[in-house]
Amino acid sequence: AQSVTQLDSQVPVFEEAPVELRCNYSSSVSVYLFWYVQYPNQGLQLLLKYLSGSTLVESINGFEAEFNKSQTSFHLRKPSVHISDTAEYFCAVKAAGSARQLTFGSGTQLTVLP
């Protein structure tokens, strides 16, 4: 079975500052990793994903995440945040190949302050 830990439940940051949202996972098999974003009263939208290949993946709106197998981490970063980035962010893991479900972390509420 897989598990995901998001250590920070809330991250306040000032506009244009950098941010890192931490995600660690546990699995006995190879995994695929995902970051989702959720705006208030909406469903989850995929932000980025790691399936294989380059360990650094990027989204179209400036976020990036790096898969670190030795540290079992998949931290999300953005060098300069905007007010519109305020949302809840979920890290998720899926066992490669055979699993049929995603396991989610508990979420991190990112609040960008003016």
């Binding site: 979920f90 490669a96 049929r100």
Partner: protein
């Protein structure tokens, strides 16, 4: 393209009343379907998932049940709602055999009063 529909968007129900939330997927066949619940200040809890018609796996025993009467239809039900059933319910789908992400509906905000 694939789309997922979930309704209603909001629902206020009295304690002890029944519940039926519906989710349908368009543009794909034989999806894996999921019901998640998101309580205030908490993450996503997987309630049920289904890999085919009539096949339901329950992750957490509780006051709810799920059914999949058609390939692309997934229903979440309760015979008698409890106050603790309040929350944000999300339907999602993935495609088995292709290791892609899950696609989510817009959610249903259920308030049991």
């Amino acid at each position: 393209s694939q789309t997922i529909h979930q309704w209603p968007a909001t629902l206020v129900q009295p304690v002890g009343s029944p519940l039926s939330l519906e989710c349908t997927v368009e543009g794909t066949s034989n999806p894996n379907l999921y019901w998640y619940r998101q309580a205030a200040g908490r993450g996503l809890q997987l309630l049920f998932y289904s890999v085919g018609i009539g096949q339901i796996s329950s992750e957490v025993p509780q006051n709810l049940s799920a059914s999949r009467p058609q390939d692309r239809q997934f229903i979440l039900s309760s015979k008698k709602l409890l106050l603790s059933d309040s929350g944000f319910y999300l339907c999602a789908w993935t495609h088995d055999g292709v290791n892609t992400e899950a696609f989510f509906g817009q959610g249903t905000r259920l308030t049991v009063v």
